[in-house]
Amino acid sequence: MQRMACSFPDEVLEHVFSFVQCDNDRNAISTVCKSWYKIERWSRRRVFVGNCYAISPDMVIRRFPDVRSIELKGKPHFADFNLVPDGWGGYVAPWISAMAAAYPWLEEIRLKRMVITDENLELISKSFKNFKVLVLSSCEGFSTDGLAAIAANCRNLRELDLRESEVEDLSGHWLKHFPDDYTSLVSLNIACLGCEVSFSALERLVGRCPNLRTLRLNRAVPLDKLANLLRRAPQLVELGTGAYSSELRPDVFSNLSGAFSGCKELKSLSGFWDVVPGYLPAVYPICCRLTTLNLSYATIQSPDLIKLVGQCQNLQRLWVLDYIEDAGLDAVAASCKDLRELRVFPSDPYGPEPNVPLTEQGLVSISEGCSKLQSVLYFCRQMSNAALMTIARNRPNMTRFRLCIIEPGTPDYLTLQPLDVGFGAIVEHCKDLQRLSLSGLLTDLVFEYIGTYAKKLEMLSVAFAGESDLGLHHVLSGCEKLRKLEIRDCPFGDKALLANAAKLETMRSLWMSSCSVTFGACKLLGQKMPRLNVEVIDERGTPDSRPESCPIDKLYIYRTVAGSRFDMPGFVWTIDEDSAMRLS
């Protein structure tokens, strides 16, 4: 075998490897023999780091000397819900500095939940001559000044996507920094920006970039300006509108409608803040081509929603508010036979009473009518085991099922039982389930089901559920493919954690907050498992000031080959092998 492998010249092997893009496969290739390892590492162009603290920039650079595209993720998922205090970490600065020196030909940077500053952005814009793609998903720490640097210096920029990042709006003039001879923009997503961008600059930019395919505007772009933009970019495939409201005027309407009709490639629509229903028919001409429709900011009533969605026979992805009601979901189930993904968000999540007739029935209808349904995110206020069992039997091809019953601990509203058997049916029937979020009243039994059946499960989110450590133990010992586990407000303590310590090294990360884990257990885990970082996040002051048996506030455990990190703030405690507590 060795001889055969070496009988091919390196160039041939490299060419063969270039057809293999998937990380797992490339990892496998690199273990065949030294020669393949060497060739593979020199030809790896794309690196994905799921946890920026799992490895150091230098280690990545040493192994892969010629990377063109990097993706990094920082904070844990629950940071989206304000559970991770500000200042926890996720700084991209060390990565940018290291890559600026090592990867002059870097083309793409994709970040998720990381902190990036204007200095970092400026360094990016000046260090990488062929820089093409910048995607900042749920990031923070920068302002429009940093964007100005990117616009001014990245002559080959193709994508600038600020997806839901928190940007400090200093001015809308940053857009003017794109040079007049810059024409290579393919994708621009500024939907998260609060301030008005310079509209004339935007118009000119859109007009001179013939390859522009994706344009997601921010709310400040008024509706009456949208038609002009569309006429300059009829080749658009994905559009996010600004505020979708204006005084109802026939000339504005017909202008808009005509502009939409001219966009023959448009497949994805989003935006729709402040919708004036009278303007919705302007998009009717293109509905039949739509595959993605994001109406999750559109506060419009069910009849208007039905009229719109009813025309989208080719819809694959629908995001909508619960204003759609069960009746609206019935209509979707009847019209959108190609639906793959449904997300229903709550319009009034903090109200104690339901404000719209949206119940489990809507989801049941969808599961019956949409045979390709794979991914669900559903907020509602009532659920029953019967409904869950029906959904499970209808849709065994489901891969992502996230159900949020708004009130914690809500039982089956028909039988008043816990929802264990309902979720049990989901994991039993949906054998390819990769992601699951639980809610409602749940005992340890649901975790027994999950541990028994959810063999492909990679990510599990749990809140206000379970009764004892047995629940956690079922999951840690049963779910073979588990990578990410996030738990809040559950009575899980030390036992299951310590008994399954080895499992934690096979996962990317574990988050536990408001559970019953003690500092003593954390110290033990930190001492015994050198390849885990055990971070105790506690804003009440040092855990040593409380008895060792007192539950800690938040725990974040992740595997790493980089050791403890150096940028921990004062409220994060970690334990190293010397069993001395280290403060940063």
Partner: protein, 322 residues
Amino acid sequence: MGVVGGGAGAVSGGGGSSTSDASMSTVSKEDNPVLSSEDSSSCLDESELELGLGLSLGVGVGACKAQQGPRGGQYARILTAKDFPYVGSSTSASVSSSSSSSSSSSSSSLSRANVTAGTKRSADSVAAANGASQVVGWPPIRAYRMNSLVNQAKLPATEVFNSLIVKSRNSNPAVGKGTSNACVNANEKGQLRSSLFVKVNMDGIPIGRKVDLSSHRCYETLAQKLEDMFATSSTIMNSIRSGGEEHDMMVDAITPSKLLDGSSGFVLTYEDKEGDWMLVGDVPWGMFINSVRRLRIMRASEANGLAPRLEESNGGQRNKPI
């Protein structure tokens, strides 16, 4: 956050070092006293001891008991409609630490019944230090999404109403910016407030924090919270010590009034909707909440010239162009 049943036993037994080898196969439902209400109350006694020492948990014991209830005893019996008299009951069930429910049945009727009580109890145990009236981060909706929802008119809305909203918003682009996570539930019934996170920066500390203003009712608790927040950073201790006049000042000794009256060498300021920087504490709390965009703990030396309301801020601060 309630040390429940089996957890309590392991903890009090100091089983840290031995459990790593313990075989979990021996753990079964019988070992878990949670199911039996008798056992749960005996475990409560132990955990009572433990958590009685847990200071900042605040509600500590009460939360333990209260949380014990719904998760513990009632699984041993079928729940009936009697357990759920929540329809129409008031939302103000303040399940506080003073609740002395010792039996699981009484706490179950308290909690599981009342829709929001369950929420509040978790809120009490989770965010007692904040005094939050709601659970942090629940339901799991991103702040980005909440911002957008909040700043739109709720249904039913006519076109006229919507265009009026657009007009007013266009004239004030400050509304709806993403710098603060403002998720105020704009509801005429004056319902529960959701979270209102604003950024806080302190001079001399590069890393900012966020604080949930809706969990406070007055300036004192806010100032106390901020001091706690920034006291945990060692750099802050140095900056306070070096920046302050009083050499004998200890961080712990800073009372809320010191931050509010500037005697600690720092003053608390905020940026309002118009982009002006003002001293915190001059206007009624409600008015402050409605206009604050972010906070800054400023060195007292830089705060000269900062006056309530009318005066323009001095050159040290950044005014946002509107």
